[in-house]
C-alpha cells in the first residue's frame, strides 16, 4: 500500500469516526477532502489513486450502510458517499487514449497497424494477418487508435473496416 493509499484510508477512517460520534462538521470536511482528491485524480487521470479512492468510498459506504438504526444525518452522509463513489466509478470506467507519439512508437502494435493500413482499409482479421500480431493485440489497439483520431472505421455488413484518417501520420 502506498503512502497516499494509507492517507486516503485514514481520511475514510476519520470520516467513519466522525459520523460515529455525530460530529457532522468534521464528517463533512472529510467528505469534502475526498471529493477534492477524486476530482484532482480524475483530471490528472491518476488511475491508481482513483482505484484507492474507490476502495475508500466503497468501504465507508458499506460500513455506514451496515449500521443499525441510522439517523437522518447518517443517511445524508450515506447519500453523499454514494454520489462520490458513482463519480469515481464513472471516471475509472473511461480513460483518454495514450498520446499519439506513445501509441505509434516504433515496435508497438499501434505502429504496426498504422503501417499495414497504408496499403488501404482493412478489417481486424486482415490486420492480424498483415501484421503478424495476435488477435488480442490488434483488437486491443484498434479502439484506442480510433479514440485518438488516428484511424476511422465504418460498418460493411457484419464487418468493421478501418482506415487511416487523412492527416494522421503513421
Amino acid at each position: 500500500m502506498s503512502t497516499l493509499d494509507s492517507a486516503f484510508q485514514r481520511v475514510g477512517d476519520d470520516l467513519l469516526d466522525a459520523i460515529g460520534r455525530q460530529d457532522w462538521t468534521v464528517a463533512d470536511a472529510e467528505l469534502e477532502t475526498l471529493a477534492q482528491e477524486a476530482v484532482a485524480a480524475t483530471v490528472a487521470n491518476r488511475r491508481d489513486d482513483l482505484a484507492a479512492l474507490a476502495r475508500v468510498a466503497a468501504r465507508c459506504h458499506t460500513a455506514l450502510s451496515l449500521r443499525d438504526d441510522p439517523g437522518g444525518e447518517d443517511l445524508h452522509r450515506l447519500g453523499q458517499l454514494r454520489a462520490l463513489a458513482v463519480m469515481i466509478a464513472a471516471a475509472r470506467g473511461r480513460t483518454p487514449p495514450r498520446p499519439a507519439e506513445s501509441l505509434t512508437a516504433p515496435g508497438t502494435p499501434g505502429a504496426a497497424v498504422l503501417a499495414a493500413l497504408r496499403s488501404g482499409p482493412q478489417t481486424c482479421p486482415a490486420l492480424v494477418e498483415a501484421t503478424g500480431l495476435s488477435a488480442e493485440e490488434v483488437g486491443g489497439v484498434l479502439p484506442e487508435l480510433r479514440a485518438a483520431g488516428l484511424i476511422h472505421s465504418w460498418p460493411a455488413g457484419r464487418l468493421t473496416v478501418n482506415a487511416l484518417r487523412s492527416g494522421s501520420s503513421p
Binding site: 482505484a51 474507490a54 476502495r55 468510498a57 466503497a58 468501504r59 459506504h61 458499506t62 460500513a63 450502510s65 451496515l66 458517499l81 454514494r82 463513489a85 458513482v86 466509478a89 475509472r92 470506467g93 473511461r94 480513460t95 483518454p96 487514449p97 482499409p121 478489417t123 481486424c124 482479421p125 492480424v128 495476435s134 488477435a135 488480442e136 490488434v138 483488437g139 486491443g140 484498434l142 479502439p143 484506442e144 480510433r146 479514440a147 485518438a148 483520431g149 476511422h152 465504418w154 460498418p155 460493411a156 455488413g157 457484419r158 464487418l159 468493421t160 473496416v161 482506415a163 484518417r165 487523412s166 492527416g167 494522421s168
Partner: protein
C-alpha cells in the same frame, strides 16, 4: 425522436426481411468502399437530426440498414473504455459531441429504465458488449461465419443489442410442449470499487463444494403418479460455509460460488452473516449460492441460484429452467435405488421450473448469466447467449460427480465459451462422486474411480477463430477435502489450452 427509438423501428424492419438483409449485408461485405460511402451518407443525416435520418431511410431496406448502423455507431462512445477526443481538428466527424441532448437522454434512460428505448414491449435495447469487452470489442476480432445459416441480423451491430421480451425454450420434459419464458436485462446498481473494464483486472474466484461426503447431500427417492422421482436434500452446513467464506476472504476471493442445491435455509443464513462479517474490509463482492427452496404451500421445491452482495443481501436470483431427469445409466452411475434396494430405471427431478431468464449487469463483476446444470446443455437460452456474444460471465452451478476436462460440463462449457466469447465457470459439489465410485468399484472399473474431485472448471474464451480457449480444473481430494474450498486468480495465460473437440463417433 430519440436515436434508440428509431433503431427499434429499423430493427423490426430488418428482422422482418432477414433474407433480403443477408443478401444486402453480403454485398456490403464485398464492397468496403461502397459500404463506406453509404455509412457516411447515413452518418451525415444523423448529424443533422434523427428525423432527417429517418426520412432518408424511408422504406428502402438498404438505407434502413445503413441508418440503423449509423445509430449503432453513434452509441460507440458508450461501449468504449477510451474517451474520444472530441476536439481533434483532424476528426470533426467524430460522434462524441453529436446530438448531446440525445446522449444525455440515452444515459438517463439506461440508468433509470435499464434500456435505451422508451417502450420496452418489443424488448430492451442495451449495449452489446459487457464490461469486460469495453477495451476490446470481440466483434472485431471474431467476425461471424460466411455461411447462410450463420447469418443473424444481431451481427450487423457492434454496439447495440435488443434483448427480446420472451424466448422459446425446450419442453420441461420429453413429450411436453415448448415453453415461452420472459427474458430480462437487469442493471444492479451498487457502490463499487472493482473495475472490470480494465484489461489488467484479474479477479479471484472461489468455489465451495460444501457437500463433501455422500451423506452431506441425501438423494431422497419417492413414487408419484406411477413414476420414480428424486429430490436432493442438503444438510445444514452453516459452520462449514461460514468458515469457507472467511478462508476465501483471507485468500482475496472476489466472487464465491456454491454449487447447485448445496445450501438449505440455515446454511444460507450463515453465508449471509459471513458475507456481512467481511463486508467492510474483505475482498468478496458477490456470492452465487445454489439453494433448494421449499415450496410455501405444498408445491414442488425450486432449484435456484441466489446472488448475494458483499453485505450478504440477496440481490437477485435465477430459477432452474429445465429438469434433469436421469435415465437408467445415470441411475446406475449414481447408485439410485428405491427403498427395496432396486436400482431405478429412471428418476425425475422434483422441481418447479422457472419462467424467466435474467442477464445481470454487476458493477463489480460485469455482465452475468446463470445456467443451472441442465440449463447449460439445453438449446435455449444457451444459443441466444452465444449468438449475442454479450455476456461476460456464464456461471453454471451443478450437482454431479467430479468435473474433468472431458465430461459433458467441459464440452458444454467450452462450447459456450467458444460460441459466446464469454468466461464460463462450472461449480460442483462432491457428494455424487462417492456414489459414482461405489458404482465403479462394484463393476470393476477401478480406473474410473475419482480421487481428485473436480469442483470447478473455468474457461477463458479464445480471442479469435485461430485461438483456443484456456481451461483450469480445480480439484479437492475426495478422501480429505480440507480446506473445503478452492480458489484461483483469473490468469488464463497460466492455464492449458483446450484442444478443439474431437468429432463424435459416426460424424
Amino acid at each position: 425522436m430519440h436515436p434508440a427509438d428509431l433503431f427499434m423501428r429499423l430493427w423490426r424492419r430488418l428482422e422482418e426481411h432477414r433474407d433480403e438483409v443477408r443478401i444486402l449485408a453480403q454485398g456490403l461485405e464485398a464492397d468496403h468502399a461502397g459500404a463506406g460511402r453509404l455509412a457516411e451518407e447515413a452518418a451525415d443525416r444523423l448529424r443533422r437530426s434523427v428525423r432527417t435520418l429517418e426520412e432518408w431511410a424511408g422504406s428502402d431496406l438498404g438505407r434502413s440498414l445503413a441508418a440503423a448502423q449509423a445509430v449503432d455507431a453513434w452509441f460507440a462512445p458508450l461501449t468504449s473504455r477510451y474517451d474520444v477526443r472530441a476536439d481533434d481538428p483532424l476528426a470533426p466527424e467524430l460522434p462524441a459531441e453529436r446530438l448531446p441532448a440525445e446522449r444525455l437522454e440515452a444515459r438517463r434512460r439506461l440508468n433509470r429504465d435499464g434500456c435505451f428505448n422508451a417502450d420496452p414491449k418489443d424488448g430492451q435495447l442495451i449495449l452489446r458488449p459487457g464490461l469486460l469487452a469495453r477495451a476490446m470489442n470481440i466483434r472485431e476480432t471474431a467476425p461471424p461465419g460466411a455461411d447462410h445459416d450463420a447469418f443473424d441480423p444481431v451481427d450487423l451491430f457492434a454496439n447495440l443489442l435488443v434483448v427480446p421480451p420472451t424466448l422459446t425454450i425446450g419442453a420441461e420434459r420429453e413429450g411436453d410442449q415448448e415453453r415461452r419464458i420472459a427474458v430480462e436485462y437487469r442493471r444492479i446498481v451498487a457502490v463499487s470499487d472493482q473495475d472490470p473494464s480494465d484489461p489488467a483486472w484479474t479477479p479471484v474466484i472461489g468455489v465451495v463444494p460444501l457437500a463433501e461426503a455422500e451423506d452431506d447431500l441425501a438423494i431422497r427417492q419417492f413414487r408419484r403418479d406411477g413414476e420414480d422421482w428424486y429430490d436432493p436434500a442438503p444438510r445444514d452446513f452453516s459452520r462449514r460455509a461460514a468458515d469457507a467464506i472467511a478462508g476465501l476472504a483471507q485468500q482475496g476471493a472476489n466472487f464465491v460460488l456454491f454449487p447447485e442445491v448445496s445450501v438449505q435455509a440455515d446454511t444460507l443464513a450463515a453465508i449471509r452473516e459471513a458475507m456481512r462479517a467481511q463486508a467492510v474490509d474483505g475482498p468478496i463482492r458477490y456470492a452465487l449460492v445454489g439453494v433448494k427452496e421449499e415450496a410455501q404451500e405444498g408445491g414442488r421445491p425450486r432449484n435456484r441460484a441466489l446472488l448475494l452482495d458483499r453485505r450478504g443481501a440477496v440481490i437477485a436470483g435465477q430459477t432452474k429452467l429445465h429438469c434433469w431427469d436421469l435415465d437408467s445409466d445415470q441411475c446406475r452411475s449414481y447408485d439410485l435405488r428405491d427403498r427395496n434396494g432396486r436400482l431405478l430405471d429412471c428418476a425425475r427431478e422434483d422441481i418447479e421450473t422457472g419462467d424467466r431468464f435474467t442477464l445481470f449487469e454487476l458493477p463489480d463483476l460485469g455482465r452475468l448469466a446463470v445456467a443451472i446444470c441442465e440449463d447449460l446443455g439445453r438449446t435455449q437460452p444457451s444459443a441466444w447467449i452465444a449468438s449475442g456474444m454479450m455476456v461476460d460471465w456464464l456461471v453454471t452451478p451443478v450437482m454431479d460427480s467430479g468435473l474433468t476436462a472431458e465430461r459433458w460440463q467441459a464440452k458444454e462449457g467450452a462450447e459456450s465459451s467458444r460460441a459466446g466469447y464469454c468466461r464460463v465457470i462450472v461449480a460442483n459439489s462432491m457428494a455424487l462422486s462417492h456414489r459414482f465410485n461405489r458404482y465403479c468399484r462394484t463393476n470393476g472399473e477401478e480406473d474410473s474411480v475419482i480421487e481428485a474431485c473436480g469442483v470447478a472448471l473455468m474457461f477463458q474464451p479464445r480471442a479469435s477463430e485461430a485461438g483456443a480457449p484456456h481451461v483450469a480444473c480445480l480439484t479437492l481430494p475426495l478422501s480429505d477435502p480440507a480446506p473445503g474450498h478452492v480458489c484461483a486468480r483469473w490468469t488464463p495465460g497460466d492455464w492449458p489450452a483446450l484442444p478443439d473437440p474431437e468429432p463424435e463417433e459416426g460424424e
